[in-house]
Symmetry: D2
Subunit: 134 residues, 4 copies
């Protein structure tokens, strides 16, 4: 194990980082983090091929199968970069060429615009044929 | 979704890629992929802090908690590079600053030298304090 | 070459992306992108070990030497994630275990707060001993 | 700067790592690292669209322009994974959506099979339209 190095947090949930967020931006985030109404989520999901609502959780999920690990992790790197840009991160797992992604907004206790925005990006960059049919 | 692009495989397990592996190397891999004896795995795990044997599976696992997503994904990128080098890949999941890793050798139906080698690398590069106590 | 896929831009410089930036955020960015005064850059650089001003360019640079490519690219992955978060990207090159980074703000025609912020992050995550002495 | 952490090498060139390479594998590498004859490199390059021989160096190079940094760094992550797998690394630079790659084999003092193999992979995964015309 690496000795020294950066301080490692013990927080479980995604922390707010007030020092990096201006009051104006913070207000915008709060607005965006409101849970979608039933009507909004139906409308959003109707345009998101390959994503489905989870049973027993206010979340959406999708499964991907790539050519190999190289293609899978290249995809994950792009999702990671967008997640940092949006300050909104997936729950995800990977085994070799397969990736499973769950999106929900922990702060809001359910699905928000942020999840739809990240889902759209993910669907757009996924190689043709990599998203599992439902 | 991206139209065109590379062919996407439908195989579930990590495929052998005979075209990239010389007969000599192939023989070496087969040798290395033999499951560890009970004595071998006890000896190996005694030197692997933070890793534990799973219940009901011939596999080992470890949990990590990082400062933030940036540190978590930087760690994952390094593990991914080593996994490709070793041609041996983890089962893993990530939520923001947390990473869970399970190692086993699918071809061999259990724990092999490959898992120990990858676990050692992972423990070596993990920032101090990021591995959860058992 | 991959056929199909995403549209590839022909723009040389980092484009403004008005669709993703709200007017409020845009104003903030414009404010932050003002070039530093001579006094400001002296003060900022005095606290940035390992970075030096370039000759003939309003930019700063640093050199890194890592254990191997694995460590170098893990570092690059973290810098890439922060660059996307800040919407501010480095000019950089890599050969095996070496990385060279140049920071400047193209929009502002020189050094701004953004460069100092990214430089501080980079210095903070660089493994001990990896930054070349000047 | 991170205190502690892994030992950082001071070697400039890509080191041989005898501990990780068996004698058999080592022999194979040595064989593969022989410089290509003029006839071999002409034949190889005739099938590599977008790559050109450099002037004054026994090396090949290519230029890429992507949609944005996200796509560029996703591409770089895939090249990095293959470079580690092949134990053969590029000289490359990146500015936002542009990537420049130079391939040569330092050990052999010029172009070898390794460079052609890596160049083929790179051309195969590059999104359509991202390779600059010569």
């Amino acid at each position: 194990m690496q000795t020294g190095g950066e301080h490692t947090s013990t927080r479980v949930d995604e922390p707010r980082r007030p020092g990096l967020v201006s009051p104006v931006e913070d207000q915008r985030r709060t607005t965006m983090a409101m849970r979608l109404s039933e009507q909004q989520r139906e409308a959003a999901l109707a345009q998101l091929d390959g994503w489905s609502r989870m049973v027993g959780r206010d979340a959406i999920s999708a499964s991907f199968r790539f050519t190999d690990f190289n293609q899978a992790f290249g995809f994950m790197s792009r999702v990671a970069l967008m997640a940092e840009k949006l300050d909104h991160h997936p729950e995800w797992s990977n085994v070799y060429n397969r990736v499973e992604i769950v999106l929900t907004t922990h702060d809001a206790g359910g699905l928000t615009d942020k999840d739809i925005e990240l889902a759209r990006f993910i669907s757009r960059i996924a190689p043709d044929g990599s998203m599992a049919a439902l």
